[in-house]
Amino acid sequence: MKELDTLIALAVQFAILSLFAIGGAMAVVPEMHRQAVDVAHWMTERQFADLFAIG
């Protein structure tokens, strides 16, 4: 159940992000970082940097 909650939270967060990505996706990377690392603790600082490098 917790898994599903996380998935829903992810979907909602990114739907909101996409609404604010006017002019380009790069503009929402700081907000993505804030959400994923600082607020929801979905990943560590290092993981975020790694995945940013991959993507």
């Binding site: 909101i16 992000l17 996409s18 609404l19 604010f20 990505a21 006017i22 002019g23 380009g24 996706a25 790069m26 929402v28 700081p30 907000e31 804030r34 600082d38 993981q47 940097a49 790694d50 995945l51 940013f52 490098a53 991959i54 993507g55």
Partner: protein
């Protein structure tokens, strides 16, 4: 496709005035639409837009350059990734909802697959020391590219006297230092910066 193009060339050279011909854009099938956007996505590492223009305007001639610019202007204005919006608008114009869906899936399938595979690989091998070092280097390079873009944009802002540098600094302070949520920062700053530039222009 090839034989259609041949017939068209014949018609143009023999008896049809060229401007009448170009005002009648060809109508691609749903599967052609899918293939075109799939190809764009495969070629477009680091930017699909040049490929979208090349395939839609130059190769397939589904749109004139003006039509393409107009559709892209709308995509830029709408929220979301520009090229994704363009695919939906273009596909929708040709084949309604089905066309929009097909263009969107064609555009997203290759990168989504590639990123999922890379993500799975990272999950397995992310802890390996050598990979860690490589990723650190790539992340540093990516950050450097962003800094370079910022400097380029800042140069053109400073040249003419405007409130733009202050808006940029305020945005940086709010997001980078205060770490405030983006939606709130935008809600406050977007009207403020529009008002500032309107006031300056008077």
């Amino acid at each position: 496709m090839a034989c259609w193009r041949l017939a068209r060339t014949d018609a143009t050279t023999s008896f049809m005035p060229p401007d009448l011909d170009s005002s009648r854009p060809p109508h691609p099938s749903i599967s052609e639409l899918f293939r075109a956007f799939f190809t764009m996505a495969l070629h477009g590492f680091g930017g699909v837009l040049p490929w979208a223009r090349r395939i839609i305007v130059e190769e397939k001639r589904w749109m004139t350059a003006e039509e393409f610019n107009e559709a892209f202007a709308v995509s830029q204005f709408l929220p979301g990734a520009n090229v994704v919006n363009l695919a939906v608008i273009f596909g929708g114009r040709l084949h309604g909802a089905a066309g929009a869906a097909v263009a969107l899936i064609g555009l997203l399938a290759p990168p989504v697959t590639i990123v999922l595979v890379l993500g799975a690989l990272y999950e397995h091998y992310g802890g390996v020391d050598d990979l860690q070092r490589i990723l650190r280097g790539v992340a540093a390079a990516a950050a450097g590219l962003i800094v370079a873009i910022v400097i380029k944009m800042a140069k053109s802002m400073v040249r003419k006297l405007s409130p733009a540098p202050f808006v940029a600094l305020a945005a940086f302070a709010a997001i980078g230092i205060m770490r405030w949520p983006l939606p709130w920062v935008l809600v406050v700053m977007a009207p403020a910066s529009i008002a500032l530039s309107w006031w300056q222009r008077r």
